[in-house]
């Protein structure tokens, strides 16, 4: 094969050395960046993952806060549910089963999850069940989980109707007018504000003007506002991707615009809109500054597991900050690692979910 070099052979192009150097540089840069994040995320899960996910053999005692048992069942449903779903997805034998069998298996798994949640809710990872501890070791993040969920639900309840409504207005009803351009500018402005500015606004309104003190409700409202531009733009995008022929077909049958929206456009665009909701939930999990200013950093024992959203309280992200900057617990390295691991797992979950919804 080693014939004399013909005119098309490799290695005789001018500037090849330089090109190779560029390639190596770019490759190293890309690989380095990727590896950095892989290592960071992996080390985090490594350090905190076990504490955050391993079930315990002995039951975790109740703290006595009202509503705690119900929370444990709820957490158990989520925890075992995710576990069961993962096993079901990853089990290689699944593909060989018929659709009916798969359905039966799913039902059996759901029943199993419910039973496990009812029976073994005291054996969940202790870290997820326990109260945080201020000055001593061994605290958990039970109330923080509940606060995070409350904040996510409330802010979703605010963002979804307003965001989707505004997107529908923009897509189907708006006509060029000063109001429309003002609305566009408003959305751009909202999207551009640093989150701390939202925090200050919430502080000013709820804590200073209304004298309502720190509350998760205030934090959730502020985060709902922060998420509005995202929800509006993603909803608008998914509405725009509804085939125009479908909508025209509905109109041609004599349906009004509103009927067309509810019967045709929204059902088609729904997955995209849900993905926006999921993404904004991820942002509620992740935000800290606005919540510190509106919902506070601490948890009251009595209200730890209350339904009332006007209680104050820290979410997971806020807790991570608090433990490192204010808290005095001697095991804060461990608590931080586990909290960070829980956060990253939650974010990974929401990201995957949003991605799936968008693909559908």
């Amino acid at each position: 094969m080693k014939a004399a070099a013909h005119p098309l052979a490799r290695g005789q192009r001018p500037g090849l050395g330089q090109e190779r150097a560029w390639h190596i540089f770019l490759w190293a840069n890309t690989f380095g960046l990727g590896a950095l994040f892989v290592v960071a995320i992996a080390s985090l899960l490594w350090k905190g993952g076990a504490k955050a996910t391993f079930l315990t053999w002995y039951p975790t005692p109740l703290s006595g806060a009202p509503g705690e048992q119900g929370m444990r069942v709820l957490l158990g449903l989520c925890f075992y549910g995710v576990l069961g779903w993962g096993v079901f997805r990853l089990w290689p034998g699944r593909a060989r089963l018929s659709a009916g069998r798969q359905r039966h298996l799913q039902l059996a798994l759901i029943a199993l999850v419910v039973m496990a949640a009812l029976a073994f809710n005291d054996h969940l990872p202790r870290f997820l069940l326990l109260m945080p501890k201020e000055g001593s070791a061994g605290g958990g993040v039970g109330p923080m989980l509940w606060n995070t969920v409350t904040a996510a639900v409330v802010s979703g309840l605010v963002t979804l109707p307003i965001g989707v409504g505004a997107a529908l207005y923009l897509r189907y009803y708006a006509r060029p007018s000063p109001i429309l351009s003002a609305l566009r500018v408003a959305l751009d402005t909202l999207a551009s504000l640093p989150s701390i500015v939202y925090g200050l606004f919430g502080f000013l309104i709820f804590v200073v003007q209304l004298r309502a003190g720190y509350s998760i409700l205030a934090g959730a409202l502020v985060l709902g506002l922060l998420n509005l531009p995202l929800v509006v733009s993603v909803s608008e995008e998914s509405l725009a991707s509804v085939p125009r022929a479908l909508e025209e077909a509905s109109l041609a049958l004599g349906a009004t615009t509103a009927q067309t929206i509810f019967r045709v456009s929204l059902p088609v665009a729904w997955n995209g809109i849900l993905s926006a909701l999921v993404l904004s939930t991820g942002r509620v999990f992740a935000e800290s500054a606005p919540l510190i200013m509106t919902a506070g950093t601490t948890v009251s024992r009595v209200q730890a597991y209350a339904w009332d959203p006007s209680r104050g309280g820290a979410t997971l992200a806020v807790h991570l900050w608090y433990v490192n900057n204010v808290g005095l617990s001697p095991d804060r390295a461990e608590v931080s690692a586990a909290t960070a691991a829980v956060l990253v797992m939650l974010i990974a979950l929401t990201n995957t979910l949003a991605e799936r919804l968008r693909r559908r």
């Binding site: 192009r13 840069n29 751009d188 909202l190 551009s192 701390i196 000013l204 615009t257 900050w321």
Partner: protein, 309 residues
């Protein structure tokens, strides 16, 4: 976007139209939602501007922006250390995180095999969603001790704890890296395939095409990505607060503790009694941050829209 506003005929009048309240009601509800967005934006801007302008008026813009001494408890509101910390750490972030992210994006989109590109994009999407406090904590645990050593070697006793602009620059770089990567990768992916083929057909290597055709064709998107990254870095609060040291002084070098606008806002707000000058000064500072990031984003939008023509 605004060109195709009304897709459907707003008043479609079929001959056999039934009387229904649905249509006007739906219209009312959606318009109300849109007005609510508008109203809440005006409220955010109005309240902050009101307090902020009072502060600005009382202190004077020259003192607020240029004064070197920020001690609200003594009535000194010189914002230079805050502005300096914000600007330098965000600029460092752009240099340390933004630039590598852009290069990684062009490599992933143009030169890497498709599976590697997909893996990188997924990783970056995840990394972009990881909470900033998590990065802050990682930096606190890993970067601050390392910086203390480096600073110790460079400056001896002048760099006591390792906290300062160096660590916050690296941290912010890590934080904005994934976002910059995703935005610039999508800008590169939008460059038409035609142009790549034209370049290849002229006997240019894929690398040459990436650097001399794709990159110039996507420059608006890249600059937009970097500017948004800068805005995000300048507005980041809690993560920076964990590693910058929180000292209200102009730093001597990259390893001296200092502060940023956002950090100082959180630190001081809890202690400032509402209605006092100390509190209004903070709102004035927030106003500075707000105006700055709004300008940056508006400029970016303009830039990107200019490229669509």
């Amino acid at each position: 976007m605004s060109a195709e506003v009304s897709l459907l005929p707003v008043s479609s009048d079929p001959p056999h139209r039934r009387r229904s309240f649905g249509e006007p009601l739906a219209r009312l509800v959606f318009t109300f939602a849109a007005l609510l967005v508008l109203l809440s934006t005006l409220m955010v801007l109005g309240f902050l501007a009101q307090r902020g302008l009072i502060g600005l008026w009382a202190i004077g813009p020259a003192e607020l922006l240029l004064g070197a001494d920020w001690r609200p408890e003594l009535g000194r509101f010189g914002g230079r250390p805050l502005l300096f910390g914000t600007a330098v750490s965000a600029a460092l972030a752009l240099l340390l995180g933004g630039a590598p992210a852009v290069l990684a994006a062009i490599y992933s989109v143009e030169l890497a095999p498709a599976p590697a590109r997909r893996a990188m994009e997924r990783l970056m999407a995840l990394a972009a969603a990881v909470p900033s406090v998590v990065y802050g904590w990682l930096a606190l645990v890993h970067l601050v001790p390392a910086a203390a050593q480096v600073g110790g070697v460079l400056y001896g006793d002048g760099a006591p704890g390792g906290e300062g602009l160096a660590v916050s620059g690296v941290l912010l770089g890590l934080m904005i890296g994934p976002t910059v990567f995703l935005l610039s990768a999508s800008a590169f992916a939008k460059v038409p395939k035609d142009l790549r083929e034209a370049s290849l057909a002229l006997g240019a290597s894929p690398l040459h095409g990436a650097l001399y055709v794709v990159f110039p064709a996507a420059w608006r998107g890249v600059v937009g990505a970097l500017l948004l990254g800068f805005a995000r870095a300048a507005g980041e609060t809690m993560a920076v607060q964990m590693v910058i040291g929180g000292a209200r002084q102009l730093p001597l070098h990259l390893f001296t503790p200092t502060t940023t606008i956002a950090t100082q806002l959180v630190a001081d707000m809890q202690n400032a009694r509402p209605g006092t000058l100390a509190s209004d000064a903070l709102y004035a500072m927030a106003l500075v941050l707000l105006v700055f990031s709004a300008l940056l984003v508006v400029f970016t939008r303009r830039l990107l829209l200019g490229g669509q023509k």
